[in-house]
Symmetry: C2
């Protein structure tokens, strides 16, 4: 079984060919079976069974998310003035059904992007949503802007059967997870993995291998999971970036994934691809 991250399900039929046809989208919006996501506190809402909440379409120009078994699915554009409460959003992830996760990710990523792109970065004038919400167009200079997706590498470095995990300053007590960082302009995935481990932990790696990917809508990343072989275990930790980084044995990781007392660290939650990578490593997929 290849790794199966939380946000990696099938999602909606995005029906991309309809986006360029405003009349077709307007017809879909008026259909009886059209639904729109319910938002609260800046995020799509989830019921007690973990399903997304939908309502009849009320927005004039909602985002067109796609089709579910042929039925149109939209999302309103949430009020840009609602402050983002990341803690509340993470709490939603504990409840969210995995089958709904890709829809949640698409809607929240898109909304996060619209929220920060009301103006044209080329000329400074106001932009308006276009293509059913999959772009924004400048009313002054005409430039079209597309949603931004930031590639992030997240990786397990291994040395002599032990894994390197670290703590960011904002982690809950006891949490350790995979090191991560943004892919920069001019870099490959493999170069970004090597650079981030060098910067944060002071070690060189070889044999970087891709494992799995998933979207991460905080605000709008593509998490690219990898494994790397470290050439030494002598750490020099960048304390600006990390609280701590340590080597953990396979047994430490097994017990952390099982949870409970006596675990060497608190594993990342099921929604984080870091957990998927740890599970795959324990299962021998490296």
């Amino acid at each position: 079984m290849p790794p199966d991250p939380f946000f990696a399900g099938e999602g909606l039929d995005r029906a991309d060919h309809l986006r360029a046809d405003p009349a077709a989208i307007d017809t879909l919006r008026r259909r009886d079976d059209a639904r729109e996501l319910v938002w609260e506190n800046g995020a799509p809402q989830v019921d007690e069974s973990g399903c997304l909440l939908w309502q009849a379409v009320t927005s004039d120009a909602p985002l067109f998310l796609g089709l579910k078994d042929g039925a149109p699915r939209f999302s309103s554009l949430p009020d840009g003035k609602v402050p983002i409460d990341a803690r509340a959003h993470f709490a939603l992830l504990n409840l969210l059904d995995a089958a709904e996760a890709p829809i949640f990710a698409a809607a929240l990523s898109l909304a996060n992007w619209h929220r920060r792109h009301g103006f044209c970065s080329v000329c400074g004038e106001a932009t308006l949503p276009n293509r059913g919400g999959w772009s924004r167009e400048c009313g002054a200079c005409g430039n079209e802007h597309y949603p931004r997706t930031d590639p992030v590498v997240i990786m397990l470095a291994e040395y002599d059967g032990k894994l390197l995990l670290g703590r960011s300053h904002h982690y809950p007590p006891g949490r350790y997870s995979a090191l991560a960082g943004f892919v920069e302009p001019g870099e490959t995935i493999e170069a970004a993995v090597a650079r981030e481990i060098r910067e944060e932990a002071g070690i060189e790696v070889a044999d970087v291998r891709y494992l799995a990917s998933q979207p991460w809508p905080f605000p709008s990343s593509l998490m690219i999971g990898a494994h790397a072989r470290a050439v030494s275990d002598s750490l020099t930790i960048d304390m600006n970036e990390l609280d701590d980084a340590r080597w953990f044995s396979r047994d430490d990781v097994v017990r952390a994934l099982a949870g409970g007392d006596g675990a060497a660290f608190q594993a990342p939650p099921r929604s984080a691809i870091a957990r998927t990578l740890l599970e795959a490593w324990v299962d021998g997929l490296k």
Copy 2:
């Protein structure tokens, strides 16, 4: 040997820890061994042997690219009014030494981003370069904006020993290459591969596998190369997206990579990761 794309070399030591220290960057800029890239027609210039051209630092606030054997390397910010001549840039790639390619990619991607981000997308006011050119900050609302890197999937779909390749409308005569498209918000790499092949060629795929990646500075993408197994060879081509798409045998691909008369198609140039993917496929790396 794993695939080795053209833009995937070592590049500079990015010395990321210096970016947040304007005084340190200013000291580097004034050093005798500091150099700045020479730009012309909106791109870094290349000499006859394929090396990047460097000169003494003349800009007051150049982009800090990093260190080469400890010596500071900068790039000026090219004039935003120079029109981009993609054809001239592609011609440079034919000349460029592979060892210089990652530096060329970083400098051109960053410049392309600065060129289109003079204004704050959150409030519409002017932004200024920050962190040695690795971000821009809004003078009005204080939001910091980071360079954008757009993940793009590019993939070989295989059925019964044949590869699916397509022609975009802007390709030179005879050129066929791997299908490609942007990863959208809410998608995994694997889902984007499957969706693009479905949209452009009307077929379903399974077993998507990552092969290699490289930056592509036109304007600022991360190309993510993959292989997918098609479940049928019956094509429905989206003529809005493609001129044509066809199945090619291993022998067709071998002869196209060798070039010359009698080849079934014109293969992509060495700078394109599509060519690396084709070479890897012929070599049996799938």
